[in-house]
C-alpha cells in the first residue's frame, strides 16, 4: 500500500529533512558494511575491504545530498497535492453548507456584492477626482496650480483665486525658479461650421508651453510651438482631442492639415492629442487652440487687461527647488506690475496648489459628495460583512457538537479555521465577481450621476485593485473573527455533553450585538437620506424667478460672423417670429443680459438721495427686455405692470425694478411712479418706475444673496450688447422641442454659427446634483441596509423562539397567557431595536455635523428627520417581530415538552 496514502489517511506529519538524511546515511552505512563483509569473505584484509567498498560506492556526501534533494522535491509535490486536496475538500464542504440554506446564502452574498460594488464605484470616482493626477501628465508631483491674489472690488482687499489674465501670466513666466509656466482657459462651447451645417464643440485655449509642461506627447502630428502662440495674434492652428478625432474626423491620419471653421474663423489641424488627455479638467476637450489664436483675443487689449479673469496658470517646479523661495519670487513678480493688488494687500502671496483641483483650495462639491458616498458604501459593506459573520456563526453553533467530535478525534483547530476561512472566502469571491459584473453594467449610470460631463476612466486602476483586495481581505478577516473564536473556544467535553437546547447565551449575545450594530448603521444612513431628501426638496422648491423646467435659452454668436447691429436686430426679430410658431412653444422673448449666465452692471440714481445701499453681490445690474419677457420666463409682477407694446423707443422712459430694490431702497413706500436716473449723463431724462418684479436668480446657484436688478424696455435700450432669446414651452422641455427650436434658428441665415439652445433645467441641474446624489444614494443604501437588518432581526427572533421552545412550553403549561409569551419576544425585539436606534441616532447626530455644509436649509439635527427615522425603525422592527412572537404564543406545551 502506498506510503503517502497511509500518511494522508492518518494525517501523519511529513518527514523533516534531517529524518530523511538520517535514513539515507543509515542505508548507505549498511551498504558499505555488506560490501566490506563480501570483500572480506573474498579474502581481502578488513581495512582494505572497507576502503574498496567505500571507493566503489562513490562520494558518500554527494550521494546523500543528491538523494535528499530529490526526496525533498518529491515531498513538496506530495504536500502541494495534499494542500490542494484539502483545499478542494474545504471548498466542497463550503458549497455544501451554502446549498443547505440557498436563499439566505444568496441574500447575504448579494448584499455583500452590493457593498463591494458600491465601494468599487465610489472609490473609482474618488480615485479619479482626488487621488490620481489627470491622465497623460508625467511627473505630476512637480506640477502646481497657481492660486493668485486678485483685487476684490467689494472688500477692497485681495482674494486668492485660481483664475487670472494674460498680463499676470506674462509676469509669472519671468519667474526663474519655475522650470516651466503654462496657462489655459476654461473649456468653452464653440460653434463649428456655419448655418444648418453648424455644430457645437468644446474648445480650450492653452499656451504652447502647456503640453510640454505636462509632458504629453501628440498621438499624431505635433502640438503648436511658442512661435505659433506669440502675442498679439498667434497662428490659426488647432490640436484636436483624441475622442473628437475618432468621433468626428473618422480617426484618419488625413485629418492633419484639414481646416476647422470655429466661431467663424479657420484653423488648420496640426496634431491629435493622446487618448484620455483633457488637460487638468475632467471635461473632454474637442479642440485645443493657442492662447493667442482665439478670435476674442483680437477684440480687446487682452494682453494688458488685468480686470478679466479667464486663465488658469500651472507651473512645473525645477528639481530640488525650495518651495518657499518659489513662492517669494512668484509673489514679487505678481505684485510688481499689478498696482491694484499691491496697494490693496502688499503682503499678498501666490499659493502653490496640487495639480488635482479637487484637493483644493476651495470646495469641490463632487469630491466632497463622492467621499461621503465612499463612507456610506463602506458602512453598507460593514453591514453586509456583519451578515456573513452571522451566517458563519450560526453554522459554527449548529456544528458545535460536530466540531467537538472532530477535535476529540485529533483534527487540528487550524484545520477547522481553514474551513471557516474558505467558507468566508467563497462567499466573498462570488460577491466580488458579482460586484465587478454589476459595476460594469451600471458604470453608465454611476458616470452620469457622479461626473456627468467628465470622462471617468473605468479601466481598473492599480489603486482600485489594491483597494478591492484590501476590502475583500478585511471582509474575510472581520467576518471570520467571531466564528473563529467560537470554533477555537469549543470546550470538547462540555460541548459533547450539552444538548442542542442549552446553547449558551453568549452566542446569542454576539448575534444581538451584530444586530444592534447593523440597526445603528442603517439608522445612520436613513438619517442622512432624510437630511438630503429634505435639502433636495428645499432646493427644488426654491423660486428662481424662472420656470426652469419649461424655459429655454437660445443664443447665437452673431458678432463672430461679423454681423452689424442692424442685421443682428433683424435676425432676432425674425427669430422671435419663427420660433413662436414652433410646436409646443408658448412664447418667445428677447433680452440683452441672460439670467444666470451674463449680467451687465448699470447705474441707478434716485434723485434726492446720496446713494443706494451697497450689496455684497455688487450691481445694480441692468437688462433690456421685451414686453413678453417676464411672462415668458415666469417671473411674477408684484406691483404695477410689466412692459407693453406701448413702451417704444419714442414713448416715456420706463423702468421695472426687482423686489430686493423695492424693499431696500423704498422700505416703507411704494416705488411705483418714482422717477430714477439710469444713465450718468444729465441730458437723458429720468425713467419712471412702472412695476416691481420678483428677484430673478443672477448666478447658477440655488441660494444667493439679494441682488439689485432693474429692467428697461428692449426698445429703449441704449448701448451695446447682443441679444439672447428666451422661449417658454407649453410643458417640460424635451429634446425634440429643443432640436426644432435650434433648426428653426439655423434656417434663418445660411452663415449663422451653431445656435446654443439649452433648458434652464439643464443649466441649474449641476447645482441640484449634490443633493440629488446624496438623496438617492443615501436612500438606496439606507433602505438596503435597513432591509438587511430587518432580515437579521427576523432570523435572530426565529432562532430564539426555536431555542426556547422547551422553556416556552413549560411557561405555557404553568398557565402563562399567550399575550405574555408574545410580549417576551416583542420585548426582546424592541430592546434590540431601541439600543440600535439610540446608538444610530447618536452617531448620526455626531456625524451629521460634518454633513452640514452639504445641506440646504436643514439643520443637521432636524428633529423631523430623526423622529421619522426612529418611528419607521421601531415600526418595522415590531412588524418583523410579530410572526416569531405569534409562534412563541402558539407553542403547545405537550409537544414542546415531548420533543426533548
Amino acid at each position: 500500500m502506498n506510503r503517502d496514502f497511509l500518511r494522508r489517511l492518518f494525517r501523519i506529519r511529513p518527514r523533516t529533512r534531517d529524518e530523511i538524511e538520517a535514513e539515507f546515511r543509515e542505508e548507505i552505512e549498511a551498504h558499505v558494511a555488506l560490501a566490506t563483509d563480501y570483500l572480506v569473505r573474498r579474502g581481502l584484509p578488513a581495512d582494505e575491504a572497507r576502503r574498496l567498498a567505500e571507493a566503489r560506492f562513490g562520494e558518500i556526501n554527494r550521494a546523500v545530498r543528491d538523494l535528499v534533494k530529490s526526496a525533498q522535491i518529491r515531498e513538496h509535490s506530495v504536500q502541494r497535492r495534499e494542500w490542494w486536496d484539502s483545499f478542494g475538500q474545504n471548498v466542497r464542504v463550503a458549497l455544501r453548507q451554502m446549498r443547505r440554506t440557498p436563499a439566505l446564502t444568496c441574500a447575504i452574498t448579494a448584499s455583500l456584492a452590493i457593498g463591494i460594488g458600491a465601494n468599487l464605484a465610489m472609490f473609482q470616482v474618488v480615485d479619479r477626482l482626488l487621488l490620481s493626477p489627470p491622465p497623460g501628465v508625467t511627473h505630476a508631483d512637480a506640477v502646481r496650480r497657481l492660486i493668485l491674489p486678485e483685487y476684490n472690488f467689494f472688500t477692497r482687499g485681495t482674494s486668492q483665486i485660481a483664475t487670472t489674465n494674460y498680463a499676470t501670466y506674462a509676469d509669472l513666466r519671468a519667474v526663474h525658479r519655475f522650470a516651466r509656466v503654462a496657462a489655459f482657459g476654461f473649456p468653452s462651447d464653440a460653434s463649428l461650421g456655419r448655418g444648418s451645417e453648424a455644430s457645437a464643440i468644446t474648445t480650450t485655449a492653452a499656451s504652447a508651453s502647456f503640453f510640454d509642461l505636462l509632458g504629453v506627447q501628440p498621438y499624431l502630428g505635433r502640438f503648436y510651438s511658442e512661435r505659433e502662440d506669440t502675442p498679439p495674434a498667434g497662428s490659426p492652428v488647432a490640436v484636436v482631442g483624441y475622442g473628437y478625432w475618432k468621433r468626428a474626423l473618422g480617426g484618419a491620419s488625413g485629418a492633419i492639415g484639414r481646416t476647422l471653421l470655429i466661431d467663424g474663423k479657420s484653423y488648420t489641424i496640426i496634431g491629435v492629442a493622446p487618448p484620455r488627455f483633457n488637460g487638468l479638467d475632467v471635461t473632454p476637450v474637442d479642440v485645443w487652440l493657442p492662447l493667442t489664436g482665439q478670435s476674442f483675443a483680437f477684440d480687446a487689449d487682452y494682453l494688458t487687461d488685468r480686470g478679466s479673469l479667464w486663465l488658469q496658470v500651472v507651473a512645473r517646479l525645477a528639481p530640488h527647488v525650495d518651495e518657499r523661495a518659489v513662492v517669494a519670487e512668484a509673489s514679487a513678480a505678481v505684485l510688481r506690475n499689478n498696482e491694484s493688488v499691491s496697494k490693496a494687500n502688499p503682503h499678498a502671496r501666490v499659493e502653490l496648489a496640487s495639480i488635482i483641483a479637487a484637493r483644493g483650495p476651495g470646495t469641490h462639491p463632487d469630491a466632497t459628495v463622492a467621499l461621503w458616498l465612499l463612507g456610506v458604501s463602506a458602512a453598507v459593506l460593514l453591514i453586509a460583512c456583519a451578515n456573513v459573520t452571522t451566517l458563519l456563526l450560526t453554522r459554527a453553533v449548529q456544528r458545535r457538537q460536530e466540531i467537538a467530535i472532530r477535535l476529540a478525534l485529533g483534527v487540528s483547530r487550524w484545520r477547522l479555521l481553514q474551513q471557516l476561512l474558505v467558507e468566508a472566502a467563497a462567499i466573498v469571491v462570488v460577491a466580488a465577481i458579482a460586484a465587478f459584473i454589476g459595476a460594469e453594467l451600471t458604470r453608465g449610470i454611476v458616470e452620469r450621476l457622479l461626473v456627468p460631463n467628465g470622462a471617468i476612466d473605468y479601466t481598473l486602476s492599480s489603486h482600485s485593485a489594491i483597494m478591492m483586495g484590501i476590502a475583500m481581505l478585511t471582509v474575510i478577516g472581520v467576518a471570520t473573527l467571531a466564528p473563529s473564536l467560537h470554533a477555537l473556544g469549543v470546550d470538547v467535553s462540555s460541548a459533547l455533553k450539552e444538548s442542542s437546547r442549552s446553547v449558551s447565551d453568549s452566542r446569542l449575545r454576539i448575534r444581538g450585538a451584530l444586530l444592534i450594530f447593523q440597526v445603528a448603521l442603517s439608522v445612520m444612513l436613513l438619517v442622512g437620506a432624510g437630511l438630503f431628501v429634505q435639502s433636495l426638496r428645499n432646493a427644488e422648491g426654491t423660486r428662481l424667478g424662472i420656470d426652469a423646467d419649461r424655459v429655454l435659452l437660445a443664443q447665437v454668436d452673431l458678432t463672430a460672423v461679423g454681423m452689424d447691429s442692424l442685421r443682428t436686430s433683424a435676425f432676432w426679430d425674425e427669430a422671435v417670429r419663427r420660433v413662436t410658431r414652433v410646436p409646443h412653444v408658448a412664447s418667445a422673448s428677447l433680452s440683452i443680459a441672460v439670467p444666470m449666465m451674463f449680467s451687465m452692471a448699470g447705474t441707478f440714481i434716485v434723485p434726492g438721495r446720496d446713494s443706494i445701499p451697497k450689496l455684497e453681490t455688487g450691481g445694480p445690474y441692468k437688462n433690456g427686455v421685451d414686453a413678453h419677457y417676464f411672462s415668458t420666463i415666469g417671473a411674477r409682477i408684484l406691483r404695477g405692470r410689466a412692459f407693453t407694446a406701448g413702451d417704444t423707443r419714442g414713448s416715456a422712459k420706463v423702468v421695472v425694478i426687482n423686489e430686493s430694490m423695492a424693499r431696500q431702497i423704498w422700505p416703507n413706500a411704494n416705488p411705483i411712479g418714482a422717477c430714477v436716473r439710469i444713465y450718468r449723463a444729465d441730458t437723458i431724462p429720468c425713467a419712471t418706475i412702472v412695476g416691481v418684479v420678483e428677484d430673478i436668480h443672477h448666478h447658477q446657484q440655488i441660494r444667493e444673496g439679494a441682488t439689485f436688478q432693474y429692467y428697461v424696455p428692449y426698445s429703449q435700450w441704449i448701448g451695446g450688447g447682443s441679444a439672447a432669446m428666451l422661449v417658454r414651452l407649453d410643458g417640460p422641455a424635451r429634446g425634440s422641442t429643443i432640436a426644432s427650436v435650434r433648426r428653426t434658428l439655423q434656417a434663418i441665415s445660411p452663415d449663422t454659427p451653431f445656435p446654443e439652445v439649452v433648458s434652464y433645467a439643464d443649466i441649474i441641474d449641476p447645482q441640484l446634483r449634490p443633493w440629488k446624489l446624496g438623496a438617492s444614494m443615501f436612500s438606496a443604501f439606507g433602505a438596503l441596509a435597513f432591509v438587511v437588518s430587518v432580515v437579521g432581526l427576523y432570523g435572530l427572533l426565529s432562532y430564539l423562539v426555536t431555542q426556547r421552545r422547551y422553556e416556552l412550553g413549560i411557561r405555557a403549561a404553568l398557565g402563562a397567557q399567550a399575550g405574555r409569551l408574545m410580549s417576551l419576544v416583542l420585548g426582546k425585539a424592541l430592546a434590540l431595536i431601541a439600543i440600535g436606534l439610540t446608538v444610530g441616532l447618536a452617531l448620526a447626530a455626531a456625524l451629521s455635523q460634518r454633513l452640514a455644509p452639504l445641506l440646504l436649509d436643514v439643520s443637521p439635527h432636524d428633529w423631523h428627520v430623526y423622529g421619522w427615522t426612529a418611528a419607521l425603525a421601531a415600526l418595522a422592527g415590531l412588524a418583523t417581530a410579530v410572526l416569531p412572537a405569534r409562534r412563541a404564543a402558539s407553542v403547545a406545551p405537550i409537544e414542546a415538552l415531548r420533543s426533548q
Binding site: 502506498n2 539515507f24 563483509d37 566503489r56 560506492f57 562513490g58 558518500i60 550521494a63 543528491d66 538523494l67
Partner: protein, 123 residues
C-alpha cells in the same frame, strides 16, 4: 573479477539513460533484495562492463520507489546485518514487462539495420 576495482578504458560501457532502471527492476524479479545485492547482481551479470558507482543504484532505487514501482522496508540479512530490502510492486512488474518489450523491439530494429550487408542494402 566480479566485484572490486573499477574498469577503465574501452572495456567500460557508457550507460544509456533509463536502462539502469530497467536492469534494477529485472534484478528484483528474483525476489526482495537490498541495494548491495542489486549492485552485486548487476556487476556479475554485466561482467563488470557497467561503469557505475554503487551510489547510482540508490538514486535509481529511490526514484523507482517514488514512482511506486518498488517498495522498501528495513530487514536483516542472513549475516545479521540491517539492510533496506526492496521488492517489486505490481506496477513495477507491469512497467518492467512493457519496457523490456519496447527495449527488445528497439534493439532488434537498430541491430538489424546496423548489421546490414552494405552490398545487399544497395540491391
Amino acid at each position: 573479477m566480479t566485484y572490486g576495482g573499477r574498469q577503465t578504458g574501452s572495456e567500460a560501457l557508457p550507460l544509456l539513460k533509463g536502462t539502469v532502471d530497467l536492469l534494477v527492476l529485472k534484478a528484483l524479479t528474483l525476489g526482495p533484495m537490498h541495494g548491495f545485492g542489486i549492485a552485486l547482481w548487476l556487476e556479475e551479470h554485466s561482467s563488470g562492463t557497467l561503469n557505475m558507482d554503487d551510489s547510482a543504484t540508490y538514486q535509481v532505487l529511490h526514484r523507482l520507489e517514488s514512482k511506486d514501482l518498488v517498495s522498501a522496508e528495513w530487514g536483516v540479512t542472513e549475516n545479521n546485518r540491517k539492510a533496506r530490502y526492496y521488492r517489486l510492486t505490481a506496477a513495477g512488474r507491469k512497467h518492467l514487462r512493457a519496457e523490456t518489450e519496447m527495449w527488445l523491439r528497439y534493439t532488434r530494429s537498430v541491430t538489424s539495420i546496423l548489421t546490414l550487408d552494405p552490398r545487399a542494402a544497395r540491391a
